[in-house]
């Protein structure tokens, strides 16, 4: 008897959580499907549905270009950060070398670093080097801030991989490098993949670097482009366009979360707490 009441209570709490988490997402979706006439009626569910807003944004260079920038920059940053992070995490989890503690400490420091503190020096340095408003100009800081995340998550992950397999491989005559490539890498692949998703979400999300270190469509990412959609440009009323664009850049995140929910949870928690 009691367990049924308990089940209901938990169920109710579940519903509250789900509603709380989803309302802002549903609201922006609702706005994106509203027609120009009903956009300002304040209804949560659109009275008239349209795809016009989506057509509009994909017809403008501004959004398409920003989308390409976002995808390219986030992908390249993720690939580089995960590659470098994997190497470092492997060394931290498995090898014995002086300076390990220092590296872990420094990456922790960077993870907690106020990003705005890097904006002013980077702005000046990149301007001088000609990196300002270019893809590498954003990729470099993204790699730097994604690295601690990858190093932590992956070194926690690598520690759970059985040591002995590598030892056995080495006993069979494999070098350290071979043992890594042939034995550890396949076992580590799921963890690396999860870490890559986390790093990608981080790069995809960034706003501060993107708005400070870009100035034109050449390298502006979608979050920044969104904030520049204004009524007096080619858009009559930006609300619908912004909402549609917002939905488009939310889709990859929703997909990641749907498919890799379990892994993302374990990746986040193991990286942050087990460290």
């Amino acid at each position: 008897m009691e367990s049924r009441g308990l089940k209901w209570r938990w169920g109710l709490l579940d519903v509250i959580v789900v509603v709380f988490a989803l309302i802002p997402v549903l609201w922006i979706m609702s706005l994106s499907f509203k027609t120009t006439n009903t956009l300002t009626d304040g209804n949560f569910i659109p009275r008239e549905w349209t795809l016009e807003n989506y057509k509009t944004i994909f017809q403008t260079d501004q959004f398409v270009r920003a989308l390409i920038n976002s995808i390219g920059i986030a992908l390249i940053s993720t690939i580089i950060a995960v590659t470098l992070g994997t190497m470092a995490a492997y060394a931290i989890a498995r090898l014995d070398f002086p300076g390990k503690g220092l590296l872990v400490g420094v990456s922790l420091l960077i993870a907690m670093f106020p990003q705005v503190s890097l904006v002013s020096p980077l702005f000046d340095i990149e301007r001088r080097l000609g990196l300002f408003d270019t893809w590498p100009g954003l990729i470099l800081p993204y790699i730097t801030f994604a690295l601690p995340l990858t190093i932590y998550t992956l070194s926690a992950f690598f520690k759970q991989i059985p040591w002995d397999l590598e030892k056995a491989a080495k006993m069979d005559g494999a070098t350290q490098g071979q043992a890594f490539r042939k034995v550890i890498a396949p076992l580590a692949a799921p963890g690396v993949f999860t870490t890559a998703i986390l790093a990608f979400i981080f790069c995809w999300n960034d706003f501060l670097f993107a708005i400070s270190l870009t100035s034109t469509e050449r390298s502006r990412t979608v979050p920044v482009a969104l904030s520049f959609f204004t009524g007096d440009s080619q858009f009559e009323d930006p609300t619908g366009s912004i909402s549609a664009a917002a939905v488009v850049i939310t889709i990859p995140i929703i997909l990641f979360v749907l498919f890799f929910q379990r892994r993302i949870v374990s990746g986040l928690t193991s990286g942050a707490v087990k460290g």
Binding site: K7, V17, V18, F20, L22, P24, W27, I28, L31, G42, M87, A88, Y90, A91, L95, D96, F97, P98, G99, L103, S107, L108, I110, M112, F113, P114, Q115, V116, S117, L118, V119, S120, P121, L122, D124, I125, L140, T144, L147, I151, Y152, K159, W204, N205, F207, L208, S212, P223, T239, S243, I253, F256, V257, I264, V265, L268, T269, A272, V273, G275
Partner: protein, 318 residues
């Protein structure tokens, strides 16, 4: 820091009686291991050093200069006068107050809500997957998108929340704007807090809870006397992470109010001075001050509360 000794001890224990030749081979292996370790870490270390280490030093150097890109010829070394300017400025302290307020209020509320959410995710009997998935969505969604959603929700005419409290526009008044900024922050990051706390919850031994319940402890007593003490390290790590993160608040404010009505955070103010004002000297001074504040917050956490910084206990327990 104890890693070398434990690993060495392990090695020694395993290949005990060593002949001379074996010893030589071992030390050679050790050296190779070291070399590989450095080699594998070098690229990551170099990137972090070049993109975070060098700029922060450069930022300190810039903060000691009068350096305004609108008047590049007037660049000169001025010592600490930028610091006097910033610290004597009312805008800085207003922004500082706003940032501190947002940090403290959001982190406290997030801790409470996050603990509830963690318990729900940990214990729930039905729909666990759905709950975890939905809880991850705020974490993953682009902050700017969430901020726009909240902005439109509170915009008179457009939004479903706009007329909730009064007929005026809530985003045009300071108190209500700040409340909305905090709401947006809390919505976005509570799930992250909850995930960290959930990892802590997983460390609480079931048997201990059962034993406590057998001894007649109420749910609340089990929570405060059994769960909280075990979870303390996880809670402190979560608090530290979230405090430092909350202190950087930028995106939400940029979209929701653009800093109007004295709702700028320190990040917002530094951004405005730098990118809008092109004043590298003052912008860098603010950067350094923000960095120092964050360092102080971290120091307080680590020293006073004994936060086990993630990574500090890292070695030794392979």
């Amino acid at each position: 820091m104890s890693a070398p000794t434990t690993a060495a001890a392990k090695h020694r224990a395993e290949d005990k009686p060593l002949t001379k030749a074996e010893k030589a081979r071992l030390s050679e292996g050790k050296r190779a291991e070291r070399r590989l370790g450095w080699l594998l870490c070098a690229p990551a270390a170099l990137v972090m050093l070049a993109v975070a280490g060098y700029p922060i030093l450069y930022s300190v150097w810039l903060s000691l200069q009068r350096y305004d890109l609108k008047f590049p010829d007037e660049r000169e070394f001025v010592g600490l006068s930028n610091y006097a300017t910033v610290l004597g400025n009312q805008y800085w302290w207003t922004a500082f107050g706003v940032t501190m307020l947002i940090t403290v209020v959001t982190v406290v509320i997030e801790l409470i809500l996050g603990m509830g959410l963690a318990l729900i995710m940990h214990r729930t009997l039905v729909g666990r997957g759905i709950v975890r998935t939905s809880a991850l969505i705020p974490y993953g969604i682009v902050t700017v998108v969430a901020a726009f959603s909240w902005r439109y929700a509170w915009t008179p005419g457009t939004g479903y929340l706009a007329n909730l409290f009064s007929d005026s526009a809530p985003l045009t008044e300071r108190a209500s704007s700040l409340a909305i900024i905090m709401l947006a922050e809390i919505w976005k990051t509570t799930p992250f807090m909850a995930l960290l706390l959930m990892a802590g919850l997983a460390l609480v031994p079931e048997d201990l809870l059962k034993a406590a319940s057998m001894d007649g402890a109420t749910a609340w007593q089990r929570f405060t006397k059994v769960m909280l003490p075990v979870m303390k390290p996880a809670i402190l790590v979560a608090l530290l992470f979230r405090s430092l993160d909350a202190f950087r608040v930028f995106d939400n404010i940029y979209v929701l109010t653009a800093g109007a009505n004295e709702t700028s955070s320190v990040s917002m103010l530094a951004y405005n001075n730098l990118i809008k004002g092109l004043n590298l000297g003052i912008g860098s001074t603010m950067s350094v001050l923000i960095f120092l504040t964050v360092a102080i917050i971290a120091f307080i956490f680590v020293k006073l509360f004994g936060t086990a910084a993630p990574g500090s206990n890292e070695e030794g327990k392979r």
